[in-house]
């Protein structure tokens, strides 16, 4: 039964390097704590060679040349851990979260699907690298050996069954006790005995060891020999695809924000692709500068507000897509257009980007379907058009079930073409019947062109009928009313606050060069005469 282990050395550092890959070649130290008592929490290999170690204060390391330091980010560590899980779950459904930086997979049956064990191990390492994490991968016959090998050997390691003791022998005994409780006591005991590596631990006699160190000592010896076996506790994490980034300095321009969003989107799309998923909703949350946040609920140094926590202002935008998409460039462009139309208004200190996972849309189109716009291009075009005319001025429309004038609302344009589509018929509202197209000109409708807003007019009446009309806004519409038909009275919503009542007239007006047909409306509530539109 083969098991694989993915271990990310210096995990807090790697989590930060996912978003700042340029620092990988430099010495980097991760600090934790509140200033001025910050201490080094983790370092990378270059910093370790430079003499920086965990526990040193910021003051001590400031003198090191070429050393970069960042504050520890739990958000980014969570995102990195989630990415590691996604990576592991794309290879096996049985995955155990051994530690934030260690994942163990059960590879039983995976060789038939994914190939030989060395190939699986290399693919695991490559997939983790694609997600921005440089990980050690080890494959062995039991989980304990796989974990020790991943933590002890760099790169990819495959330990054949029966060779565990031999391969693990040279690893230091500190590795055996990593993460164990009271490990200093065991370490001191081993050092007093002259035990330096796992071979020495494995060579100790069983009974005297258990007499001196107890059951735990026996377990440690089995681990050193590669003889442990325990059942994995597989996890079933909720499908949460979220990437986060805390900024060292507040961000004020949209261009650098777009650069960071691009990185987060690439990671999100990689994680979604590894699960064969797409997304139909992107949620962007920005934490803005201004105000402050206290984790313990107290306001330091301000006795006027004891125990009251204040959070930074937040800015959220949600992008709803009509179809599942998985193109990071399209997402970036849509976010950019959206942020240009709705800027945050304050410097940004934290970025969270989440995607709602859905099944991807099938890509097979019918042979005889008419051409339609590509969804990705259409979304970008609609976003650009919305930037020109306004968000509520572009889209498809939906007629509402009412007799009120202008009885429609705009909605997102999402054409859905399928061979079995039928045109919608009656809306169910009296007077709102939708025609059905037959052949030829049998149902050609005299169209009305609406004036938005309606033009105010002055009307001369004779025996209750309009005889002359004059419009200040439309100077051409002035003249004798040759013919008037009406009034067609309608009213509604009198039970609401915004009731309406009107008389409509269809009129023919003698203009300069022709006769114009108009719809004239009298608002019965305020008595105004309005020109609503022209028949054309």
């Amino acid at each position: 039964m083969p098991f694989a282990c993915i271990f990310v050395p210096d995990f807090p550092v790697e989590a930060l390097l996912r978003t700042e890959p340029g620092l990988r070649s430099q010495s980097l130290a991760v600090l934790e704590g509140k200033p001025p008592l910050q201490k080094v929490f983790a370092v990378n290999e270059n910093a370790r060679h430079a003499g920086v170690a965990s526990g040193m204060t910021k003051l001590q390391i400031e003198s090191c040349t070429g050393l970069a330091f960042r504050n520890r980010s739990l958000l980014q560590e969570t995102a990195a851990h989630a990415a590691l899980l996604d990576c592991a779950q794309s290879f096996s459904p049985r995955v155990e979260e051994t530690a934030p930086d260690t994942i163990v997979l059960d590879l039983l049956g995976m060789e038939l699907l994914l190939g030989a064990l060395p190939k699986i191990a290399r693919d695991l390492a490559r997939r983790a690298a694609d997600l921005g994490l440089i990980a050690n991968v080890a494959v062995a016959a039991n989980p304990g050996t796989a974990v020790l090998a991943a933590r002890g050997f760099r790169g990819v390691t495959v330990i054949p069954e029966g060779k565990e003791r031999e391969r693990l022998g040279n690893l230091p005994v500190e590795l055996l006790l990593a993460g164990e409780q009271n490990s200093e006591q065991f370490l001191e005991t081993f050092h007093r005995w002259g035990i330096r590596n796992l071979r020495d631990v494995a060579a100790l006699p069983d009974v005297p060891l258990s007499e001196r160190l107890g059951q735990r000592g026996a377990l440690l010896q089995k681990l050193a020999r590669g003889e442990t076996s325990h059942t994995l506790v597989p996890i079933d994490p909720p499908l949460v695809f979220e990437e986060a980034l805390e900024l060292e300095h507040p961000l004020t321009l949209l261009e650098p924000l777009a650069f960071l969003l691009s990185q987060l989107l690439d990671h999100l799309c990689s994680r979604l692709a590894s699960r064969a998923l797409a997304t139909q909703e992107l949620r962007l949350k920005l934490e803005l500068a201004g105000g402050y946040r206290e984790e313990d609920g107290g306001e330091a140094g301000n006795p006027a507000h004891p125990g009251r926590a204040q959070a930074r202002p937040r800015f959220s935008r949600t992008l709803h897509l009509p179809l599942p998409l998985l193109d990071s460039k399209t997402f970036l462009k849509l976010l950019q257009l959206d942020l240009q139309a709705h800027p945050p208004g304050a410097p940004i200190v934290k970025i969270r980007l989440a995607a709602e996972p859905v099944r991807p849309r099938p890509g097979q189109n019918g042979l005889f379907l008419p051409p339609s716009p590509e969804p990705e291009k259409l979304e970008l075009t609609l976003a650009r058009i919305a930037g020109i005319v306004g968000e509520d001025k572009v889209g498809s429309l939906e007629l509402l079930d009412t007799h009120r004038p202008e009885r429609f609302r705009m909605q997102h344009f999402a054409p859905n073409f399928s061979p079995q589509r039928h045109p919608s018929t009656a809306l169910g509202a009296e007077g709102c019947f939708r025609g059905e197209l037959t052949d030829g000109s049998d149902n050609l409708v005299t169209a009305l062109r609406i004036f938005r807003p309606p033009a105010a007019v002055m009307v001369t009446l004779s025996e209750g009928r309009p005889t002359f009309i004059s419009c200040l806004e439309r100077k051409k519409t002035r003249g004798e009313i040759l013919w008037a038909s009406g009034p067609w009275r309608s009213s509604g919503d009198w039970w609401e606050q915004k009731g309406w009542a009107r008389d409509e007239w269809d009129i023919a007006v003698q203009e300069e060069t022709s006769i114009g047909l108009y719809r004239l409306v009298r608002d019965l509530l305020c008595g105004r005469w309005l020109l609503e539109g022209t028949y054309d």
Partner: protein, 285 residues
Amino acid sequence: MPSLPLFSNPAARRPLASAPFPASASGGRLAALPQLAEVTPASQLTVRPAPEMVPSGVREIDALTGGLPRGSLTEVCGPVSSGRTSLLLAVLASATQRQEACALVDVSDAFDPVSAAMAAVNFESLLWVRCGVQQTTAVRRKNKAHGASRACDNVEQALRVTDLLLQSGGFGLVTIDLGDVPLKFARRIPLTSWFRFQRAIERTPTVLFVVTQSPCAQTCAALLLKMQAGKKLSAFGSQPSEKLLAHTELLNDLQVETEILRLRMPRKPAQSVTAIFSTQTVRAG
């Protein structure tokens, strides 16, 4: 130096190298060239496939023009109450019923959804772009000071939106409604814009349909129709008051006359250039 013939007849397929050259370079040289008798006119040098025609939704216009050409610009012009918008709705209804994605660039925000519903336009397939950004008072004063007006801004928006729609592609029909735009602003649309639109839809299945008060696209329009109210309305003003028509007599069977002003596609010979069709007014309640 003897001159080579400028034109070659593709039907004859005679290589230029074997073309005989005149012995002398005198003035009668051109007339003496035997291959000039087979000169092919320049308009026939490249054989272009005839564009695919789609129904306009009006039988009489389809009989007149053969339909609307794909990959070309069709312009419809006419004054108020000449039937332009009725034709526009018929074209939209026909295209949406063919399940093609359609776009309407409404420069004056004059589209009536109720009329469109009566005309059987399928709104799920129609993208409606309503031009006209809400201007602040300061911007409006500034534009007025510079002689610009809201109509001018709307036209600029419409041109930019049309560019985006045509570049995006995939639309079976893109319509631009300039019907209420004053002539002085509509005529200011540069010819280069119309050329750009024409090039964008060339060799695509997109029909670009433009409604104007008077012709604007000039030579870019492959089909130009002029519309006017039929005799029933135009003669209405001269009728004595005792013979006033009832509502159903005037607005029902409202006649529209259509005349072809330009058509680049080949037509069947001996056909009329005008057509008359009628529209019905559907009143709610």
